[in-house]
Amino acid sequence: MGRITLDKVRKAFGDVEVIPPLDLRIEDGEFVVFVGPSGCGKSTLLRLIAGLEDVSGGEIRIDGTDATNLSPAKRRLAMVFQSYALYPHMSVRKNIAFPLKMAGLDKAEIDKRVEGAAKVLNLDSYLDRRPGQLSGGQRQRVAIGRAIVREPSAFLFDEPLSNLDAALRVGMRLEISELHKRLATTMIYVTHDQVEAMTMADKIVVLQAGHIEQVGSPLELYRTPRNKFVAGFIGSPRMNLIEGPEAAKHDAHTIGIRPEHLMVTPEGGTWTGKIGVSEHLGSDTFFHVTVPGFAEPLTVRAGGEVDLHYDDEIHLTPDPAQIHRFDAEGLRLA
């Protein structure tokens, strides 16, 4: 079980309200990702759920019972920290066994569970090492091991991959996703990386300045962003946002078009511009195109083998079905 409900949860540090009253429902077994730019309050929100920070108002319910004033240990949640927070003077075995020892389990049961977790995470051969002798990815796995032995009702991850290099990050991302499929336990995951959010989440919560901007599945957020912020934040490279007369043609204050929804044609086309920087990824090429009359260059996705170069003229046609329209407040127009 792991159903978590936030009801008008509010957090203020002194006079500064970092999280205005906020409602959120997290269903049992869901993989929920909190995503947003740094300082948006996503980590604070996670710490409120964990109980490491006290709420300034509102109610947190875990599996239907009020957990607002419960101590972190009693909430039956396990957390994986950004720094891993392993205990440096204990061996891997003792690190993983620590929560069980604190819970007062007998030694045979502790050993059994630690061995089990080590097997799941491929840590068997490292059990007697100290954290200082492990690589970043292994430390990460120990931290996850320490979380899963407790058999919590939900896992909380606080930017767990941000200290790993790019290749390891992709690997760990997969491992965490597989772990979620296997355990089918609720997971709440905080990240500033929208790629992690898109690839791992069942449900994404986009936060800005403590506000929830939108909640939905990755594809929902990609297809129908509720406002300009979500539109710009989800998707990589980010959506082109165009204001002015071009937008007025579509009866909107701003229109948005993703780089993958702009078609490159040799002639004709709606807009004509000059290629600035091009980024060749092999499978795709991204052009930054300066179009006269547009405030910012457009990002365009083209095939990997396109024969276009710096300063070439390029013709672009947006897919009319994929134009997102926003009003002056930045809200989506139907």
Binding site: A50, G51, L52, S71, P72, A73, L77, A78, M79, F81, Q82, S83, A85, L86, Y87, P88, H89, F98, P99, M102, A103, R130, G132, R146, R150
Partner: protein
């Protein structure tokens, strides 16, 4: 300029300082060694050579020697226990966010700046004096018989005075160690179900082990040579005669430089043995 060249130039430029330090250290040591083999009693005008190891055996076999070793161990051990335990507790206290933290920290460190003689005099006359001392007033106020600290509990009193001086040192080092503890570790332990006491025992104390080792090592070296506090308070009476003080008495009060020098050499050897043992026993904390 190549590293090799700059290295030899550096050696050349450092040599006067190194030479001076060597002379500074070696001349007294060699003179002490030399005196320790003489029958040198200036007041009687004796300056006779070739005592051999006579001074050493005389120093070691006197009953005062064993007593002085016991007194030294009591003093060093007592002060170490009080400063380490008190230092850990004070460091935890000072690590809490409190109003006026900066001022409190400076006040806590202040005793370290007071000269040993001065602090011993202050304690002797203002706190421990059985008639005028603050403790005496306190006891009288509670309707109790005032205690004459320095004659009734002389060793305890000196331990108290020395601990008061060294507590700031221990606190300072342990405070910086506590501040370097990753707060996420404590939070992780909290989520793992560890209460405040378990967190202290399983996380904070192991984290402090290295700094406690440093405190013990450094303090032991300095505490073995405690002198002013004993001189000012009990003058070595009532079982407070440490090895250092015994050497002083042999040289100055008995005017027997030969015997005192032998004692001094023995003290140096013992101090080195203690240092070696300490490095073996607690020094392994410094690895890794």
């Amino acid at each position: 300029m190549a590293t090799q060249h700059s290295r030899s130039a550096a050696r050349l430029m450092m040599s006067p300082a190194v030479f001076l330090l060597l002379v500074w250290m070696l001349v007294p040591l060699i003179m002490t060694l030399w005196f320790s083999t003489l029958d040198y009693r200036p007041m009687r005008g004796t300056f006779d050579c070739c005592e051999g190891l006579g001074n050493y055996s005389r120093f070691v076999t006197s009953s005062a020697f064993l007593d002085s070793i016991v007194a030294t161990l009591q003093l060093v051990g007592g002060v170490l226990v009080i400063t380490v335990v008190g230092g850990v507790l004070l460091a935890i206290l000072l690590d809490q966010p409190i109003w006026g933290q900066g001022v409190v920290r400076i006040l806590v460190i202040a005793p370290f700046f007071v000269m040993p003689t001065v602090s011993a005099l202050v304690w002797k006359n203002m706190f421990m004096n059985p008639v005028n001392g603050l403790f005496a007033h306190l006891f009288k106020g509670l309707g109790l018989q005032p205690v004459d600290w320095l004659s009734q509990y002389p060793m305890f009193s000196i331990i108290l005075i020395v601990s008061w001086q060294w507590l700031p040192f221990a606190t300072l080092i342990l405070l910086t160690a506590i501040q370097s503890l990753d707060s996420e570790q404590l939070e992780a332990a909290e989520m793992d179900g560890a209460g405040p006491l378990s967190r202290f025992g399983h996380i904070i104390l192991p984290h402090l082990a290295r700094s406690i080792t440093v405190v013990v090592l450094i303090q032991t070296i300095f505490l073995l040579s405690i002198f002013a506090e004993i001189y000012v308070t009990t003058s070595g009476a009532f079982g407070t005669r440490t090895l250092t003080y015994l050497v002083y008495q042999r040289v100055i009060e008995s005017q027997n430089v030969g015997l005192g020098s032998a004692g001094g050499i023995i003290a140096v050897i013992l101090a080195n043995i203690v240092a070696l043992v300490l490095m073996r026993v607690v020094g392994k904390n410094l690895d890794a």
